[in-house]
Amino acid sequence: MRSITPWARVYVIAVAVGAVLCAAPVRFAHAPWGAVALFTALCAACEQLAVGRFGGGRGHEGPGATGPGGAGGGPPRWHTPVLLAAAFLLPPAAAALVPLPGALLVRGGERTPWPRRVWRAGQLGIGAWTASWVHWSLGGPDAVVSSYFPYTLVTAGVAVVAFCLVLALLDGGILALAERVPVRLAWRGLFVRSLVPVGVHGLAGLMMAVLWRGPYGPVAALLVLLPMWVSWWVFAQYHRERAAHQATIRALVQAVDIKDGYTRGHSERVGQASMMIARELGMDDERVELLRFAGILHDVGKLGVPTRLLRKDGPLTPQERRVIELHPEYGHEMVRGIGFLGEARSAILHHHERLDGSGYPYGLVGGQIPEFARVVAVADAFDAMTSTRSYSRARPVRVALAELERCAGSQFDPVMVGALTRALGRRGGWHPVVTADGVQSRRDYPPTPPVSSRTPTCPDSGPVPGPSGLVPGCLPGPDSGPVPGRLPGPGPDSGRLPGRLPGPGPGPGPGPGPVPGPDSGPGRLPDSGRLPGRVPGPGPSPDPDSGPDPLSLPVPLPGQVRSDGGVT
């Protein structure tokens, strides 16, 4: 929770007061105090076990809310069965009392701030009271005690629905007030999403209540919690592993961006632009997500291209160009084994194809090019034009769109260009957020070293030397722009030649001084990329305002490390 707005404060206090009012009549309720104490202790123990093992709560959300960054719905907190069992057995006031001590007193590894604890206590208190009240007014407790079965399911079901409804209502309020989610979005899906998981937990709670009052007593009821605990534990593992996986993919693409000398975040921005196009085209969520991955990973094959070529400061020879043009195939070869990428793999292979057949690697024409590849091509060109590269300054969105428009039909699919234009128009511009996702998911996974906590490098943070020359924009054709100066550098196969000396590479190496960028295409301004006063040298590129960057360390910088141990 960021700084808490006054209204959110008022809201939290109001909810807490509500919970206290719910629990207050407990003195007159003739509650079975032993059971209340036992349930309360159980609830607190569940909570303690959860935060103790997994560090920190999952945010302020109640049961059934999604975890951070969580598409797919996180698990309900696993004390929900205890809470619901208490609601099924105890009078409403006593049920409202049960969650309070646990929510207020238990603190996780990272200290949960007071407002959040008060909020959780209040929310759960009101929820439990409502469920219990509904259950009592339907005559549920008698049905539970006499195990009058089909009817018990009805009363418990209605109580669970009421519980979900109240939690969703309160949750939406806090989302709108504290997290500043727009009001019309705040309540969307909260109730429906929580219904199934809380419903299953409600069944466990019902079983617990029945066994608690049965001849075997509370011991049998406790056993119900074991499977719930196991599944909660596995879900936590699942979220951890998923976050680690996302961090891996992100680190992978950042390595590519830096290796290529792009501004950081190019790949992720391409992912976002692809996603915007996909949404605009009305694709379903699964394909949208896949397209995001396609955009993110489109250049992953550049990991396989020698850094010296990618960042060569000067024009490329036809051979070098051909080596670089292998990157879609390298990328496809790399991700071939990643099953979940599905269609995205074709986008990685074909994102440099052009509609008129002059692209690579296969020179496909028009509809032969997979749809995903056509989307990624547009997104890639768009981001290349709107971000600053060493050889060209960022162009305004308007200009970039006009350029795409101009090349639509020959190079780009007009449908995709149109979709991008519409999507940008609707959103009022292009404001990519690159690392927000990363910051969130790392919270789940403490062992991850900092990967991308910095905000994305802003587009004019300085030129990076050595354009690779292959801008996917509407720029030079595949064969324009090469200049002699052949570099027999490490091509894809040359490294395997036996007896090759690890000595200084035979090529011109990291280049003799500054060479004007290899700009030759149409639409490129003369002397565009150079910010005044900076001469792109051949050495490692210091990012002027980042200092020692943990990310750039292992990424090959030209001339930094050589296999023979020499440092140029």
């Binding site: 698990p75 079965f149 000396l501 590479g505 490390v561």
Partner: protein, 408 residues
């Protein structure tokens, strides 16, 4: 060993079926309901790559039927033989669609199911039917059931480890340890559900079965998603490892071969499942430091480079791995793969040895494996741990054919 287990399971099955046919079903509705539950559990069977218990609902159903004493307050009278017969019949019915698709449970799974259900039933039903437990109060009875299931779970773990040992030839001790550890996860859920269902049926009757099946299905779903994300993660790491091969830094398939062989050696040396995962990831990414080189090492052969150079590449690799969000333990192994073995963690020793072996075999041509092993033995003074080299030798000798096929 396997033949013995299978024979015992088959004998028990035949005996039970014969007995049940001869004496008829006792408590038809109950038997039918539990049979249906087991069948449903089998239908939702899911054989993922690393699932210990593919059909938890069926297992829980079988155990709860074995421990069932009452149905809504009325005592039941089915004996142990009937339990086994119902479980076998229901399991076989539930298997039909899976077998049709060619991915049914193996004979080992069936044998385990029959023997564990039989064990629990034979421990419980005769004593119960003689009224031994009538004097036991509520909580004590619950604890008795729990203790019985813990015992059953232990036997099941031993059985599973023994079967795996007979099937693969891996050492028994670590296999048993892994089985027991896995038992803490899904095994706990299955056993607890078994007890709860038996008790709940005793209190409320057969309604308890559907009500409490759903939470266990939730657990199964959680395990499934976890396994799926792990598989994806593994694929991603393997792809990352292929980057060096595609870049021409290392020969094609090198990382995967080192990973497979490292895993086999690690298993031979008795590493646990978690350590094996770390070892596998580290072996896949052990060459990743070479991506930071401007010029590739000839043929990617790092084992012949000067020591200083090897260590520097290793450190670079560790730095890459640290950023990828893979567990820090993996980065440590990658980082220290070039240290003298006395300073290394055991996983790094394995990676170092296997990597050197792989590179040497590649160069040596025919008769390579023997010569490569010999060269490694010469290096055991400083670089390679003798035990690891010997273990590698055993792995190659024992299932040389198999490993070579799988990695080749």
């Amino acid at each position: 060993m396997r033949a013995l287990v299978h024979a015992a399971a088959a004998l028990l099955t035949l005996l039970s079926l014969a007995h049940t046919f001869w004496s008829g079903l006792d408590g038809r509705a109950v038997a039918l309901s539990f049979g249906l539950l087991v069948t449903l559990g089998e239908l939702t069977r899911w054989s993922g790559p690393e699932s210990r218990e593919a059909a938890p609902l069926a297992a829980a159903g079988a155990l709860s039927y074995a421990l069932l004493g009452e149905d809504a307050g009325r005592a039941t009278h089915h004996g142990a033989f009937q339990v086994v017969a119902v479980v076998v019949a229901a399991t076989l019915v539930g298997c039909v669609p899976h077998v049709a698709r060619g991915q049914g449970p193996t004979a080992d799974h069936l044998a385990r199911r029959v023997l564990t259900a039989g064990f629990a039933a034979i421990c419980f039903q005769p004593l119960y039917n003689q009224g031994v437990f009538e004097a036991w109060g509520g909580p004590a009875y619950v604890l008795l059931l729990v203790a019985l299931l813990v015992l059953t779970a232990l036997c099941d773990a031993v059985l599973a480890a023994a079967l795996a040992h007979a099937r693969t030839g891996w050492p028994f001790g670590p296999l048993l340890r892994d089985e027991l550890r896995a038992m803490l996860g899904i095994g706990t859920a299955v056993c607890a559900t078994g007890v709860v269902m038996a008790l709940a049926v005793a209190v409320v009757g057969l309604w308890a079965l559907p009500v409490f099946s759903l939470p266990l299905l939730l657990t199964q779903l959680a395990f499934r998603r976890y396994a799926a994300v792990r598989a994806t993660y593994r694929q991603t790491i393997a792809s990352l490892a292929r980057a060096t091969e595609i870049a021409g830094y290392t020969p094609a398939g090198h990382a995967r071969r080192v990973a497979v062989l490292s895993r086999a050696v690690g298993r031979e040396l008795g590493l646990s499942e978690a350590e094996l995962t770390v070892l596998e990831y580290a072996a896949l990414m052990h060459d990743i430091g070479q991506l930071s080189l401007v010029d590739p090492v000839p043929a990617g052969a790092t084992a012949v480079l000067p020591v200083e150079e090897q260590r520097r590449i290793a450190l670079l690799g560790g730095a890459v791995v640290r950023q990828t969000g893979v567990a820090a333990a993996v980065a440590v192994v990658v980082e220290r793969q070039a240290d003298p073995y006395r300073e290394q963690p055991v996983s790094a020793r394995i990676v170092r040895t296997v990597n050197a072996y792989e590179e040497k075999v590649r160069d040596a041509g025919a008769g390579g494996p023997l010569r490569a092993l010999e060269e490694l033995r010469l290096g055991t003074g400083r670089d390679y741990q003798p035990e690891v080299v010997e273990s590698l030798g055993r792995v190659l000798a024992r299932n040389g054919g198999v490993v070579r096929e799988r990695i080749g």
